[in-house]
């Protein structure tokens, strides 16, 4: 059984190297993997375990690369991925299949890199008294990475129900690999030129207490920490292994689980909202945010924006803690801004709204509800981010600015989607599909709605900046943010509603042409 699956895996690997269209890509992947592997060994040999910043770098780079290895199978696309559901048609024992799949996962580029990475940890600590612990930790970490990668392949295969979704999964995986490699490069550079070692040690200390980083920190810990982390690693690998067998068994028993929800009994969301135009439009809107790939992709990709921003600023040398103030406002800004072309997303189905005698404001309100609910989720974690930032008394400003950017953005979008609508991808199209003609209007609407939001929020933002020197301003910024937000949302809905009512036939006309 095991050797059957392994033979299948080897055949798949061999076919990637056969002459053809994929060969170049396969060679490029091999070269990249070879370069990463070589770099790991060279850097590991250069590590001086007596230096705190070197120890920290091992933890950060190890954790980052392990994450990269875990998502690596997804980045190759799911076309020939060995995922449990494919074996559902055969009468197999789930436990043996789970073992086979995990073993097959260890063969190939990610598996080889996991071994190299573990070897790197061992080499880095070779001459130290904790070298034995390093060997155990390395093995555990490699096994954990491979197991996690198997989970991700199974999850990815469940998500990838359409060609567009498959592309999205692959794209996200590749993006994570780029981010991981950038993070490692930044770590190495900061070690070489001696900058940012404080931040690095802080990050490493944080990671060392999470499942991601604890194994890489094993050889550098004192005896108690070392034993605790090794034990944690053993428990983690054990849980992952047992969980993997369970997941495989579940997937084999119910291979069609994602397809069961084709029929909705009753009215679904519509039973939960008031029977008013705004209520049903909100329910319909939520259904589309949840099911339509165009919305879903944005919801999934949005969290990457602040990560990339923080990374870029960290690379540029800005100290890490204050950067924790960025993610929530940035997310709120983009969430509010994203609704700026919502009417065009309906395509010609907009006629249902045009043909009904509904108030324009009802249409606007309904469309605001899903981003508003999503945006409210940003508020509970705010105290945590304020704490990490290390800036005293910043919480009111963080809350107020986040809420203000979201509400102002939605207000501006309510007007923009009626006034400056531009062709959008059709319903059911992939998240990356674009309409044939975009026109210059798209750029104007996108830029102006973003700028308008920032301009309207400028007083609150400036007050928040002043707060850095005079914390009393943080409270002012918070109140100003919330006030601006509520005012602009109400104004946007009223004005946007009127514009929508007046321009509804033109919006429908635009949809028909695109």
């Amino acid at each position: 059984m095991v050797d059957h699956v392994l033979r299948l895996k080897l055949t798949l690997l061999g076919s990637a190297l056969r002459p053809g269209r994929g060969l170049l890509a396969a060679l490029a992947v091999l070269v990249l993997a070879g370069a990463v592997g070589t770099a790991v060994i060279v850097l590991a040999l250069a590590v001086d375990p007596s230096r705190a910043d070197h120890r920290a770098a091992v933890v950060v780079a190890g954790a980052a690369l392990a994450l990269g290895i875990a998502v690596a199978p997804l980045s190759a696309g799911l076309g020939s991925a060995l995922e449990p559901r494919r074996f559902a048609a055969f009468p197999l024992d789930p436990r043996r299949l789970a073992v086979s799949l995990a073993a097959a996962g260890a063969i190939g580029v990610p598996g080889a890199l996991a071994v190299v990475l573990a070897l790197g940890l061992v080499l880095a600590w070779a001459d130290e008294p904790t070298s034995v612990a390093a060997i155990i930790a390395g093995v555990l970490a490699a096994v954990a990475s491979i197991l996690v990668s198997q989970y991700l392949v199974a999850i990815g295969a469940l998500l990838a129900v359409s060609a567009a979704a498959r592309r999205a999964v692959t794209g996200v995986a590749r993006l994570i690999i780029v981010i991981v490699l950038t993070a490692v490069a930044v770590t190495v550079v900061s070690i070489i030129d001696g900058s940012a070692s404080e931040a690095l040690i802080g990050t490493a200390a944080l990671l060392a207490n999470t499942p991601m980083g604890m194994l890489w920190a094993v050889p550098g810990s004192d005896l108690a920490g070392l034993l605790a982390r090794l034990l944690g690693g053993i428990v983690m690998v054990g849980v992952l292994a047992v969980g993997w067998v369970w997941v495989v068994a579940r997937l084999l028993e119910a291979p069609q689980r994602t397809r069961t929800r084709t029929a909705t009994i009753g009215l679904g969301w519509f039973d939960l909202v008031p029977a008013t135009p705004a209520g049903v439009i909100a329910a319909r809107s939520m259904l589309y945010w949840a099911r339509d790939p165009r919305y879903r992709a944005v919801v999934l990709a949005l969290p990457l924006a602040p990560v990339l921003m923080m990374l870029a600023l960290a690379v540029a040398g800005s100290p890490l803690p204050p950067l924790w103030l960025l993610p929530l406002p940035v997310l709120a800004l983009f969430l509010g801004w994203f609704a700026h072309n919502d009417a065009a997303y309906d395509h010609t189905a907009l006629w249902v709204h045009v043909a009904a005698p509904l108030p324009g404001a009802a249409d606007r309100w309904g469309r605001c509800v899903p981003p508003l609910l999503l945006g409210l989720l940003l508020l509970p974690p705010a105290p945590l981010f304020a704490l990490w930032s290390g800036v005293d008394g910043v919480l009111p400003a963080l809350l107020g600015i986040t809420l203000g950017l979201l509400l102002t953005g939605l207000g501006v979008s309510s007007i923009a989607s009626a006034l400056g609508a531009y062709p959008a991808a059709r319903p059911g199209a992939g998240p990356f599909d674009q309409p044939p003609t975009l026109g210059s209007r798209a750029g104007w609407t996108q830029a102006l709605s973003l700028l308008a939001t920032l301009a309207l929020m400028a007083p609150a933002l400036v007050a928040a900046l002043w707060g850095v020197t005079e914390p009393a301003w943080f409270v002012v910024a918070g109140i100003a943010g919330v006030g601006t937000g509520i005012g602009m949302l109400l104004l946007g809905i009223v004005v946007g509603g009127r514009v929508f009512r007046a321009r509804a036939p033109e919006l429908l006309d635009l949809a028909q042409r695109s």
Binding site: T262, A263, T264, I265, G266, L267, G268, F270, A275, T276, P277, G279, V280, I281, R284, L287, Y288, R291, D292, D346, H347, T348, A349, W351, V352, H353, V354, A355, A356, P357, L358, P359, P427, G428, R501, P505, E506, L508, D509, Q512
Partner: protein, 250 residues
């Protein structure tokens, strides 16, 4: 009941609808026929308040559609041709959605959706998303959505295209009953037999102009409606130059 006066629409240089005049009395079924691209859909979209005319007025129960759109639209039921629906909604959700947008309350909306589903043979399909429907079923759910708020005037663009004969007969019965009770129906179709059977009055539009209108008997002028229609549309063009089509390849 429905008065259209001097309606005009141009797309760029091409005039799609030119000075169209129509009058449909209450309780009648009005058929709108014309060759492809004659301006039927453009006219009906302007009548229903979906496409802004360049000139002219549309009055429904005395209300100007383009001056008081909200008041007028609560009196109109529309079935547009070639427009999407929110097709991730199930049939039941779709009907409920349009009903509430037209101001119905929850119990009325649900009850009417069920009634229409039975009348149009859609019961059993209401729990499935509209995107899984066939073309004919989409027409039926659209007709149900147009009827759900009991409008005074129905504007139906190609309501029977791709609909099976049984469902067509059911829908025709429903429309006749609706008209007998005082409702007004405007529909366009390519099916002349059906128009002859269903409609009281008819207008022929060619190249954006109305060439004939009146009762069925007036318009067909002693012949079948189909013959009269072909004649008005420019007659049959003699097929020439296709001799190769009579020599069959081996």
């Amino acid at each position: 009941m429905l008065e259209v006066d001097g309606l005009r629409k141009a797309f760029g240089r091409a005039t799609a609808v030119d000075d169209v005049q129509l009058s449909v009395r209450q309780g009648s079924v009005f058929g709108f026929v014309g060759p492809n691209g004659a301006g039927k859909t453009t006219t009906l979209s302007m009548v229903a308040g979906l496409l802004r005319p360049d000139a002219g007025t549309v009055r429904v129960t005395g209300i100007d559609v383009w001056a008081e759109p909200a008041r007028a639209k609560s009196r109109i039921g529309v079935l547009p041709d070639r427009m999407r629906l929110f097709d991730r909604l199930t049939g039941a959700q779709m009907l409920y959605y349009t009903a509430v947008l037209h101001g119905l309350d929850r119990t009325t909306a649900v009850a009417r959706a069920d009634d229409l589903a039975v009348a149009l043979g859609l019961d059993g399909s209401l729990e499935r998303p509209v995107r899984d429907y066939s073309v004919g079923m989409v027409k039926k759910i659209s007709l149900a959505a147009a009827l759900v708020h009991s409008p005074a005037v129905l504007v139906l663009d190609e309501p029977f295209e791709s609909v099976d004969p049984v469902s067509t007969a059911q829908a025709v019965d429903l429309l006749r009953r609706y008209a007998a009770a005082g409702g007004t129906v405007v529909l366009s179709s390519h099916n002349m037999d059906l128009v002859e059977r269903v409609c009281d009055t008819v207008a022929v539009i060619v190249g954006g102009r109305i060439l004939a209108d009146g009762t069925i008997d007036e318009v067909r002028d002693g012949r079948s409606l189909e013959e009269r229609f072909v004649e008005l549309a420019g007659g049959r063009v003699a097929v020439e130059g296709l001799e190769w089509l009579t020599t069959f390849s081996a």
